[in-house]
């Protein structure tokens, strides 16, 4: 019997990739948050698809229901995540007045210095010089 599993999975995968690309390419933090939600939902879709069209032969109902339950868990978690994320975003906006992620570069590696380091400066004269 032909199932719709493959189609669902492909759809989910596309959604997941869109979400992932969104996180990478979008500069606005809100959009980035949305992209993450998209990714989570792609996973949800996968769960549900597998639950509805099990791959494993002889999967019990209980097992099948787990996929659906998982989706609920994820929805709840995603809500919590969104709450925390927005709170953080507000905190950022308050201090920096921006939600563009590429403007947040206070934290970064120092600029490398490629010139040869000068000879170590004499730090302190020899011990005995100080006392004699």
């Amino acid at each position: 019997m032909p199932t719709l599993l493959t189609e669902y999975l492909i759809l989910a995968a596309i959604l997941f990739v869109i979400g992932g690309v969104g996180v990478v390419v979008r500069r606005n933090a809100i959009t980035v948050l949305m992209s993450i939600e998209l990714m989570l939902n792609a996973a949800n879709l996968t769960f549900v698809a597998f639950s509805r069209f099990p791959l494993v032969a002889g999967m019990t109902v209980q097992h099948a229901m787990r996929g659906q339950a998982a989706a609920f868990f994820v929805i709840a978690t995603a809500a919590a995540e969104a709450a925390v994320g927005l709170a953080i975003l507000i905190a950022v906006f308050r201090r920096r007045e921006t939600t563009h992620v590429d403007e947040l570069t206070l934290l970064r590696d120092p600029e490398p210095v490629f010139e040869r380091e000068p000879e170590p400066v004499p730090v302190a004269v020899h011990a005995s010089l100080e006392t004699h």
Binding site: M59, T77, V101
Partner: protein
């Protein structure tokens, strides 16, 4: 086995996590009831709950191992040992954090409450044997740590760090979740045991491999393994320093525990012969370990801030634990040795790194310069010999020089690696450790060999609790280095991870 069967004994097995949840709630409630004055008790309370949870975990150390809630979680020595490390990290963080919070005028109960919740999530992460359960525990832990990272509202950097952490963390959670979904599809279940059966049967292997890759990527992100490490330096540097210590110790420990469980319990059987190339995950983890050790140590060299250097050092140390993880692929005795080595390494790293970050915290003054450079450490040995000494001990331990915990930990790891003949891993490990020596020693250099600057800003006053915590950490580092056998009972049964 019916899905929903559980009983109170199973619940009792989760006592450490439950105690911490209760603790977190209590702290939140007291926050409501009390006003600003005399907040010190909150730290005390937090330590109290951490100790109680730790005792509960300790009592489980000798546990023979038992499945809980029909296979969603597991009570065993491994989990108990991990929980113990996490409780230790929590207790130390609470102990030393109070002084920092007072200096930053941010004494509020949420800090400790969030830490308690995060720790609870970590413990659950270590106990979980179901991927969904793992995901939820991971989220509990992560959400709490995101919040902790943004805790200091007075400065711009914590918020930025939190945002970066949040975005990338959620991204990796999503990846992990997607992997979980694929695993569910292939095995028809999210329980590790069922996945193991599916792996053993050989059905739907490509799907399982994809699931393994995605789940593994999620955990590698959490432990900050190269190339999933990009978030770590910025977040570690930006977060409030005690939080950084807690993250470096606790999050890493919990994530490694989960990684070990997933890899060994679900994918342990064909560890050397799974995947398109038939290499198994051994090669992937080994390469991750090599990259992590090399890049972590390499990039730490050029850092000018001690805190950021410690962040890179944390990445490098993840590499050493990954060596142990990879070695466990060989199963049998090697797996026991690897698990033991990983647990011991995480313990040693926990005490050392919390100590080190505490020293960093001890030198942070409210309204001080935003960019922390090394000048604060110049000539510290003359201004504050005790602080300089413990910092030197922590640096020596991180560098892996005897007689400190760091040395014994590395000994365990390399010993495990050489048992399976992974000489290459060990050699890369020791060579990158040489680079590591350089930057750890630089801290000792500035503390001991540079003169104190003329106008050195006076260090903030340290509370007794912080000094006590530092002393405790330093003594633990030395004790673990000199008499590691005292922890024999700790680390050995912990190795009895369910294969």
């Amino acid at each position: 086995m019916p899905v929903g069967t559980y009983n109170w004994q199973d619940m009792a097995a989760l006592a450490p996590a439950i105690i911490l949840v209760v603790g977190g709630c209590t702290l939140l409630l007291t926050e409501v009831a009390l006003k600003s004055a005399g907040r010190g008790y909150q730290a005390g309370l937090s330590v109290f709950f951490a100790v109680i949870a730790g005792l509960a975990a300790f009592s489980q150390l000798a546990s023979p191992g038992r499945s809980l809630f029909g296979g969603f979680a597991r009570l065993d020595a491994f989990g108990a040992a991990t929980a113990l490390i996490i409780c230790l990290a929590l207790a130390l963080t609470s102990l030393v954090g109070q002084s920092f919070l007072r200096e930053q005028a941010s004494e509020r109960g949420e800090f400790h409450a969030l830490a308690q919740f995060a720790a609870a999530g970590m413990i659950l992460l270590a106990d979980a044997t179901d991927l969904i359960m793992l995901f939820i525990a991971l989220e509990v832990m992560s959400l709490a740590t995101y919040a902790l990272t943004a805790y200091l509202r007075s400065s711009a950097r914590p918020a930025e760090a939190a945002l970066k952490y949040f975005v990338l963390g959620s991204f990796s959670s999503a990846v992990l979740l997607y992997g979980t979904a694929l695993a569910y599809g292939a095995a028809g279940s999210t329980k590790l045991a069922d996945i193991a059966a599916a792996v053993g049967s050989g059905a739907h292997t490509p799907l399982l491999i994809a699931a393994l890759a995605l789940v593994g990527a999620g955990f590698l992100f959490k432990v900050a393994a190269v190339p999933f490490h990009m978030w770590a330096p910025d977040v570690y540097q930006g977060a409030p320093t005690p939080v950084t210590g807690f993250m470096a110790a606790g999050v890493k420990t919990a994530a490694f525990a989960a990684l070990l469980r997933t890899l060994y319990e679900a994918f342990g059987q064909r560890a050397l012969a799974l995947g398109a190339h038939g290499h198994g995950w051994y090669v992937a983890v080994a390469w991750a370990a090599i990259l992590t050790m090399v890049f972590g140590n390499l990039l730490a060299i050029v850092q000018r801030s001690v805190k950021r250097m410690l962040a890179y050092s944390s990445i490098a140390h993840a590499g050493y634990v990954l060596v142990a993880v990879a070695v466990g692929a060989f199963g049998g005795e090697a797996r026991a040795a690897a698990t033991q080595a990983a647990i011991y390494y995480l313990l040693a790293y926990t005490v050392t790194v919390i100590g080190a970050f505490t020293v960093v915290a001890a030198l942070e003054k409210r309204g001080g310069p935003e960019i922390d450079d090394d000048t604060r450490y110049d000539g510290l040995a003359q201004r504050d010999p005790a602080l300089a000494f413990v910092m030197a001990v922590f640096m020596i331990s991180l560098a892996g020089i005897p007689p400190t915990a760091g040395f014994v930990a590395k000994l365990f790891v390399f010993r495990a690696a050489l048992d399976v003949g992974a000489v290459g891993l060990a050699v890369v490990g020791v060579l990158s450790a040489v680079a590591g020596l350089y930057y750890y020693l630089r801290v000792v250099v500035v503390m001991y060999m540079k003169p104190a600057p003329e106008s050195a800003p006076a260090a903030p006053r340290r509370m007794v609790s912080m000094s006590f915590g530092l002393a405790l950490a330093a003594i633990a580092v030395l004790a673990l280095g000199i008499a590691p056998h005292s922890l024999h009972q700790f680390a050995h049964p912990a190795a009895l991870l369910n294969p």
